[in-house]
């Protein structure tokens, strides 16, 4: 029982260490005025495999990581490192490409689609609500359909039985 609890506590501590370590590393680096490897890696792409560098496992990704570590060791800031990476690999290395030329599409298209969607909803929802209310009101005020002869006879018989 105690051993099981001890194992659970140790597992919790290990999980906490794994979660907190990158944050501690980043904040320590920030306090020193330098940049941490994770801060750079999170904003950079693996240019050969077109994946975020943080998850890429290709040989090119390992080479890129080694280069970033070299630049960090030289005391460069994040901006300077990103400039250096662009000079070496082109703009494709940036996870967020600069907002110019064809790249503008990725900045403009999503909000544009969202706005068009909202405008469409704002235009159509009240119309749908109005038409459904009108249909309900019309249904309520309309006289009931006339009863056919057979139904009228059965109703009369039922009423006579209950009287």
């Amino acid at each position: 029982m105690i051993a099981r609890r001890l194992r659970a506590v140790l597992a919790g501590l290990a999980l906490a260490a794994v979660t907190v370590a990158p944050l501690v590393q980043a904040s320590t680096a920030a306090a020193r005025g330098t940049v941490s490897f994770i801060q750079v890696q999170n904003d950079v792409m693996c240019v050969a495999c077109h994946e975020p560098l943080a998850v890429a496992q290709s040989p090119e990704a390992f080479s890129e990581r080694a280069y970033i570590r070299q630049l960090i060791a030289q005391g460069m800031t994040k901006t300077r490192i990103e400039k250096e990476l662009v000079a070496q690999y082109g703009e494709a290395v940036l996870a967020k490409p600069p907002a110019r030329g064809f790249n503008l599409v990725i900045y403009i298209l999503p909000p544009a689609v969202l706005l068009i969607g909202l405008a469409t909803l704002a235009y159509t929802l009240p119309k749908w609500r109005r038409s459904s209310r009108r249909a309900a009101a019309e249904a309520a005020s309309a006289p009931p359909p006339p009863m056919d002869a057979e139904d009228a006879r059965r109703l009369r018989e039922d009423l006579a039985r209950q009287a």
């Binding site: 050969a48 040989p59 390992f62 690999y89 082109g90 689609v113």
Partner: protein
């Protein structure tokens, strides 16, 4: 009339997205056109021949056009690529022979940082010129999507042979002699 507004907007949006997709696909260079032409014996002119690229380890820029009249074995490589490292000694060896035949090997780095490329050049004793294609536009025009790739450009500036993966001595010995023996 108003009932056509919403479907109209949806159609316009769909057409715009399709146009965007078409543009994206058409802007990618396929490898098939160069490969197919070379296979048919219709040698295409080397693309981007006038595009000047920085020479690794210097401020000088050079283009393929600077080598017109020579046979150029254009080798696209990267320091992080193991097959490139495996074929490097073969190319370094071939360069010694080619130099006397008015021919050269021309390396082009692919998605590689200059520090790592320079280290690769030193380790593999490469003596031929190496260009850096930072934007990737030069190699993309050859349909390159990976490394290593090798293109043999004849004295008229046309691609006469190519290899989209690691080369070997047999391929070089079979491919180069007829191209080298052609007059300029």
């Amino acid at each position: 009339m108003r009932r056509f507004v919403l479907p109209g907007l949806i159609v316009i949006a769909a057409v715009a997205l399709l146009a965007l997709l078409t543009f994206g696909i058409s802007s990618q260079n396929g490898t098939s056109s160069i490969d197919a032409k070379v296979a048919r014996g219709v040698y295409p002119a080397a693309p981007s021949a006038n595009l000047a690229l920085p020479v690794l380890g210097s401020n000088v820029k050079k283009s393929l056009a600077d080598y017109r009249g020579q046979v150029v074995v254009l080798n696209v490589f990267a320091s992080w690529c193991d097959p490139c490292r495996a074929e490097a000694p073969i190319l370094a060896d071939a360069e010694r022979t080619l130099r006397s035949r008015h021919a050269t090997i021309l390396g082009v780095t692919y998605l590689d940082n200059s520090t790592a490329s320079e280290q690769f050049v030193r380790q593999e004793h490469i003596t031929y010129p190496v260009l850096r294609d930072v934007s990737g536009n030069f190699v993309r025009s050859f349909g390159t999507t990976g490394v290593p790739e090798t293109f043999v450009i004849n004295r008229q500036g046309r691609i006469q042979a190519l290899r989209r993966y690691q080369l070997n001595n047999t391929w070089l010995k079979r491919t180069l002699p007829p191209i080298l023996s052609e007059p300029s």
